[in-house]
Symmetry: C2
Subunit: 210 residues, 2 copies
Amino acid sequence: MIQTGLLIVLSGPSGAGKGTVCTALRPTMPDLNVSISATTRAPRSGEAEGVNYFFKSREQFQEMVERDELLEWAQVYGNFYGTPRKYVEDFLAAGKDVLLEIDIQGALQVKRQFPNGVFIFLIPPSLEELRSRIIGRGTETEESFRLRFGAAAGELKYMDQYDYVVVNDRVDDACRRIRSIIEAERCSVPRNIDFYRHPFQNELKSETRN
Amino acid sequence: MIQTGLLIVLSGPSGAGKGTVCTALRPTMPDLNVSISATTRAPRSGEAEGVNYFFKSREQFQEMVERDELLEWAQVYGNFYGTPRKYVEDFLAAGKDVLLEIDIQGALQVKRQFPNGVFIFLIPPSLEELRSRIIGRGTETEESFRLRFGAAAGELKYMDQYDYVVVNDRVDDACRRIRSIIEAERCSVPRNIDFYRHPFQNELKSETRN
């Protein structure tokens, strides 16, 4: 129905559960191409090279920046994260949908280059939930907790730059909402009007002339 | 999540299958309140008063118009159709979603009064399909067929006044797309920003101040 690939950007405050939702979403949408970020941060337990991230040294990351190989990049809590450009642009050009799971800084950079992307702001259901998730991750010092918690409050003000807000109350429900958003966007009139108007109108005109 | 009811308008060219899709959609969305139109046309086989339509005489319909009891009304192929206003306004005010299944003239009248409604343009998958559906209905004279077929061609130009275009290739698929559109719209940032920004931001501010 739709002719060009959708760029779907799943973003939101730190601790909203972007990674968990993205991991749960993938097996339910096998046609969705999920971009893998490059990062300078150390792998967490269970994370694998080329699956969760491309793990890079600071020097390697800097080279990617200099060669303009990153669609967006940002420094978050002292580490660098970036989205390799080629993967995204190749799939979109081939009419395939691409999902980016990135932080807010990165999403706003992507929006400047892809204003027609679908920007989804994932939020935790409550502040308590946000706090318990950050603490529950168990990888935070008190200082880094304060940094993240304060950032989450500040980050909420960016919601109005997004198209959709999805509450991550239950991961399955959040995934269902995201699938609905993608399906709805595939039906949006601005994305489809050229496709329908011309061939269909022409067909109708020649029919009704007979 | 959302505070005010959504007004969903399912519309499109004659013969697209609006009635069939609406009938199939209802049991899958029990929370959706489907407005029942008033009409002066004679009941078709299987149609019941107060279920498919409120069947009215021309005099009764005229009285409803004069008392401003109709949200929209139109004359289509010699019969009058209208949407009773009170049903729609009462449900929306109570925060409930309402679906209208109406022709294009009616939809454009509703859009002027409810610009924030969700306007869905249902189209048949092909011209052949449109033709066979109109003929297959078996209630048309050749003259009324020509009228309907010509109108369908002209009606397609209104697609750009709608938010979504849904192809009615298979009724189940069309229903799934409509459910996705409704769920996506419930997540739209403009519909939710006030709800989230204020209580959540205030909560975060007081938390981070402690």
